[in-house]
Subunit: 297 residues, 2 copies
């Protein structure tokens, strides 16, 4: 019987493409094209990554830029240009599209080209181009390294959780869902010394797992050490800070380098394989996010 | 009343975005990012640019790569990488997606990254990156220049015309619709001497109009001089060779340079404005292609 994308999941599809040599690393990784040129591409699609009622058009544009700039930040890059393919229904208002592009331009990286196509739903596919003096990648973490994170986790997932339930009084969390942080300055600073770096998009364990897998080491993260947004403790879902969409950076570096960075240490690399969360030394269960198999698609 | 994309058309939307400084030239133009780096982005969407029954999955991938490589060819560039955002329904088969990526890889430019997202219909958004020693652009044509074209026109539009009518026995034309030519070598050769160059995607008059507008000159094309695919004369629609989708290159250069190129001269630049077709010295009417307002969307 024919295998469907739904059964395979997004990561399963990417593995199929990569194992056949049909695509380089797809997803959050950047491609390094030589001479410090780095390129990444990420798309936001209606009813998969956003809903019209929950994300304004300007926020949508901002977020589409920000999630790509986050990948460049994880590569220690200075962004130079965005290329945007907007898919939109023919009955969408011009005003909405202008808001999307206003949001795309807000982080200050110019939209230098792209395309627009008619489609049944809205999606914003962005390719971001930048330059980096040193791309840490994901494969250089060493046993003995510590892991640092650039900010508190959980606000974005909590904001989505709040929207799904129609709660009010959590504007700060909803704003975090709509407008990821830009960590370009932190990314450049970390890239100079980090052995490995990723941005936290899919979820803490999944993203830390990329470092573990590609560095052939184990990654342990202490739940107590992870900085969590203060307001998520008001909500009932305790694992919100593991859900991803934070777009903070996670870097592996020596303890001495971490001290100089003044960022919270949340875990360590050691011999072995896989990434895991520990609470009081015991395994702690959490989950990430997968396309094609769930979440409104 | 709110203005809708349908009323504005694709080019109207692009004008709105560009005039507000919200986007650089979108569409077929490339962005020149310095140090010879050129980037372009173009998408193919289901029921706008292709139909599943008329274009196989592998052909779709090939064409998505080829239309972008065509923009790089018009910039005299050597392509280095493609970035692909595939939108696809969750019930699409893996085998179909593998065919799309096989087609994308066929021209020999590696897919170095991208993203996949769940959507109701299939679209393939490609960003192509390359290097060029000299980008002619569209604005340098001079009165006295002649126009050359790299191949016969009309086969692709005729192929679509044939598919729309369910005719058989025109496989050569259908193949031209499904698989545009790659003119990278010609593009590099022309870029060394051309004053202006475009690829013929939207239609001969529209694309020649880009040179006329941006070079502040008039462009005249002699209908008798345009090389037309021999088989289109078997079909009843005489204007098929003006419809676009040929992905041949149109370049403005001196008559002496054109002689050395051994390519057919089809027209000239002269003082004035606008692009027009002439048949026996008289104006000849033709039309191009516009998204959001027509054609299956």
């Amino acid at each position: 019987m024919a295998l469907l994308l739904r059964e395979l999941g997004e990561r399963g599809l990417l593995r199929e493409l990569e194992s056949r040599g049909l695509a380089g690393p797809i997803g959050d990784d950047v491609a390094v094209l030589g001479d410090g040129l780095v390129v990444t591409a990420d798309a936001l699609a209606e009813d998969v990554h956003f809903r019209r009622g929950w994300t304004g058009w300007r926020d949508l544009g901002y977020k589409a830029a920000a999630v790509n700039l986050s990948d460049l930040a994880a590569a220690g890059a200075e962004p130079t240009a965005l290329f945007v393919v907007l898919s939109a229904p023919a009955d969408l208002e011009l005003a909405a599209v202008l808001e999307v592009y206003s949001g795309l331009n807000e982080p200050g990286v110019p939209v230098r080209g792209g395309d627009t196509v008619a489609a049944e739903s809205v999606s914003v596919a962005v390719t971001a181009v930048g330059n980096s003096e040193r791309v840490p990648g994901r494969g250089g973490a060493l046993p003995g390294d510590v892991l640092v994170v650039t900010g508190p986790l959980g606000a974005a997932a909590a904001g989505l959780w709040v929207l799904e339930r129609g709660l009010t009084g959590f504007e700060e969390l909803v704003a975090a869902h709509r407008r990821p942080p830009l960590r370009l300055a932190e990314g450049k600073r970390l890239a100079a010394v980090a052995h490995a770096m990723v941005d936290l998009s899919d979820g803490l364990v999944i993203d830390a797992g990329h470092i573990a897998d590609q560095s052939s080491c184990a990654v342990e993260i202490d739940v107590e050490l992870v900085p969590k947004h203060p307001r998520i403790t008001e909500l009932t879902d305790e694992s919100l800070w593991t859900r991803g969409e934070d777009y903070e950076l996670l870097a592996a570096l020596t303890a001495a380098a971490a001290d100089a960075m003044d960022l919270p240490v949340i875990g360590r690399c050691l011999p072995g394989s896989g990434a895991r969360l520990l609470l009081g030394g015991e395994p702690y269960e959490a989950r990430g996010f997968e396309h094609f198999s769930g979440c409104g698609s």
